[in-house]
Amino acid sequence: MNHVVLQASDLVMDYAVQPGAAPAMHMLALNHVNFAIQAGESIAVMGPSGSGKSTLLHALAGIIKPTSGSVSFRGTDLARLSDADRTKLRRNVFGFVFQSGQLLPELPAVENIALPMMLGGARYQQATDAAMLWLERLGLRQLAAQRPGEMSGGQMQRVSIARALAVQPAVVFADEPTGALDQNTGRDIMGILMDASRANGAAVIVVTHDPNVAGFCDRTLIMRDGRLYDNGQDMRQAAPRIPDVQWPRPVAGTYGNPPQGGAR
């Protein structure tokens, strides 16, 4: 049985009322937005530049505080959590994949993947063992000791996906995950992201300009001028799949509650 894992009600984000912003004629970055995603579901948010897609993603992830409205994760209002608790939430139950620049340049791949687990309290050996398992599954074992500067864009994105999923997140936030990649590599990356997320029962929210990327998701929502529209079109049949693989499980007992009934 599926249930709503993340829900936003009547979200408004007005950057002009942020401290220090100059008063001027402006559009709301989020204009009374409602959003809900179920465990294991994947949603693409598409829209032109400046439409508010990334702002929505950041608000849903509790990174920014909306001007008004609320975001709740499994029934808990994020605004009621302290900054420290929101940080813990991001660390333990959310995963992030961005266009680029998300890996720490000083850390080799294996430590980049192990970092969120260590931040959650796992020991170095335990975290790097789990990270190695992820690298193996993604066919990147030979990159374990390489640093981001020594990898290709596609390899970096694979490592980022491994890092996002290593903590068995309930929700994966992906902001233009293939924006810096060519079409073929982008398709591979999306296949890996979606399959690994499904295997872990994670919900996925993907922000993208690319209809091909959106095609990997269960639903596509359109964002324009801070408003969210559901076009209701099912584009899943367009999604190419990679063969089923056995995804590694994360280090047990450290990272929040596993999602209920999300795996398909």
């Binding site: 950041h58 505080k65 340049p105 000083e106 970092l115």
Partner: protein, 502 residues
């Protein structure tokens, strides 16, 4: 568009952003370096003023009626004669006048020691000025690359950056002069040769001030040009991040061999005694100076070794991040704290002078000139130590804060992924403390090893150790202040509530 117009384009009010923050840091660094340099120079000037008949350096070097102002030399030589006589016949009961007369005869010794302190401070001074210049030159990657993409030539971009660095140095030097004036009353509180300095003695002259301003600006210009030679500014970016080759082991070998030779030479100092007291002093200070220089050669390797061993099995995320950052650029990690190596060396030498003073101190007369001389060397040593530690702390704090601005993207990403501020603070602190511990261990160990043959077990007397530990504690305290300031800078960064790139 000429380079100056280009420079003006980027220096309109409200145009600075992160580059503006790093500019402030660079100006602070240049100001601190100039203040300390002028203060030390003022001290040297004060001692020359006292040691010279007409208060000029020419008369001090070549005393005589021909080279000194008319009438001054005669009065001076009479005072010297009186002092020499008193020194010969002094019996341990000194009046203030007698003591002052004898102290006059030590004038040249004071100038020599002040010059030595000045020379010692050149290393951390150049390190600080160099890091300020690097800061001015290396934090503008995106802007410089965008300029190249827009059609600016390499020469234009280089000139623009050099102009930036020179402008900051000029402003810093001018603020540093104000700092020099502010420091003067404090220096006047110190007692050297049993009397306080006056403004006239500490005032280096307007020509010297102009020369220092020009010198600091030229140094910044040269440093930034050298820095720019090491990077390629292309339209696609300023440089690719790649692993730096780690320092090789041969440096350690050279260091160990020289230390062993120094230990042997200092253990057999009596063989140099027949060449005169001056030669013996030259050998002692020469070897100490050489070993200090070699600590700098071996420092990067030792820091790398230590960070590697801690990175093998880090106990938490903060340790892992900190050790990897050190290993990413061990040279930078060493440079951040290298000034402390000198400070610890000075702490060692100063504690020895304190010991010598207390050895002579069987004589309890507080006006005994030889006792005053040793006390002054000890005070001067502490001042040099404090200046070296301040220079090192400013250098370290400025570089750390600069790194924070430089890595704002990384910090945002870490915050996004749920890294708490405490972990980031801890990582930044470890990034400084690990090389600092290494430098104190190596430098303090070398200092004790080299002084051991001269002073043997006296080194381990509580008074000596307390002095040494106090000096080291001062270094830790000042460096910690620098690191805390860098953490404060990091807390002011807006890591979450910034406009998303929609």
């Amino acid at each position: 568009m000429n380079t100056f117009s280009l420079w003006r384009l980027f220096h309109r009010p409200g145009m600075r952003g992160t580059a503006g923050h790093t500019s402030i840091l660079a100006v602070v660094a240049f100001a601190a370096a100039t203040t300390i340099f002028l203060t030390v120079l003022g001290g040297v000037h004060g001692f020359i003023w006292r040691a010279s008949a007409d208060h000029t350096i020419g008369c001090m070097i070549n005393p005589g009626p021909g080279s000194c102002a008319p009438g001054t030399y005669e009065a001076w030589s009479k005072a010297m004669e009186a002092g020499n006589k008193l020194m010969m016949h002094g019996n341990g009961h000194w009046t203030a006048e007698q003591s002052a007369a004898v102290m006059n005869t030590y004038g040249n010794g004071y100038v020599l020691l002040a010059g030595f302190a000045c020379m010692l401070l050149i290393v951390p001074f150049v390190a600080l000025a160099g890091s300020a210049a690097r800061l001015a030159a290396s934090r503008r990657d995106a802007r410089l690359a965008a300029l190249r993409l827009a059609g600016a030539t390499t020469a234009q971009v280089t000139k623009l950056t050099a102009l930036d660095a020179a402008g900051q140095a000029l402003l810093g030097a001018l603020i540093g002069i104000l700092g020099y004036f502010a420091m003067m009353p404090l220096i006047m509180l110190f007692n050297f040769q049993n009397r306080h300095f006056t403004f006239e003695q500490l005032w280096v002259g307007s020509l010297t001030l102009i020369a220092v301003i020009a010198g600091v600006t030229v140094l910044a210009l040269a440093s930034s040009l050298i820095t720019l030679r090491r990077v390629t500014i292309t339209p696609l970016g300023v440089m690719q991040r790649a692993s730096q080759p780690l320092p090789t082991r041969w440096r350690v070998l050279i260091f160990v061999v020289v230390m062993a030779v120094a230990y042997l030479v200092l253990s057999n100092l009596q063989s140099f005694a027949r060449f005169g007291e001056g030669t013996a002093y030259a050998v002692v200070f020469g070897f100490i100076f050489l070993c200090f220089a070699l600590v700098n050669l071996v420092g990067t390797w030792v820091v790398t070794f230590r960070a590697k061993s801690r990175a093998r099995r880090p106990k938490d995320a903060a340790t892992m991040i900190a050790m990897r950052r050190i290993l990413d650029n061990p040279k930078r990690a060493w440079r951040n704290v290298s000034g402390v190596a000198l400070a610890v060396f000075i702490a060692g030498i100063t504690s020895v002078c304190g010991l010598v003073a207390s050895g002579i101190g069987g004589n309890a007369d507080p006006l005994d000139p030889s006792m005053l001389y040793m006390r002054d060397i000890s005070t001067g040593g502490f001042l040099t130590l404090a200046f070296a530690a301040v220079l090192a702390a400013v250098s370290s704090g400025v570089m750390q804060a600069g790194s924070v601005y430089d890595q704002v993207g990384e910090y945002r990403m870490l915050a996004l992924e749920g890294t708490d501020e405490a972990t980031l603070d801890k990582a930044r602190m470890m990034e400084v403390i690990t090389p600092l511990n290494t430098v104190v261990a190596v430098s303090g160990g070398c200092s004790l090893l080299l002084l051991f043959p001269i002073l043997a077990m006296a080194l381990f007397r509580p008074a000596t150790l307390v002095t040494l530990i106090a000096g080291i504690a001062l270094c830790y305290a000042l460096i910690a202040v620098g690191a805390i300031a860098a953490n404060h800078v990091a807390h002011t960064l807006n890591l979450a509530d910034y406009r998303a790139d929609d």
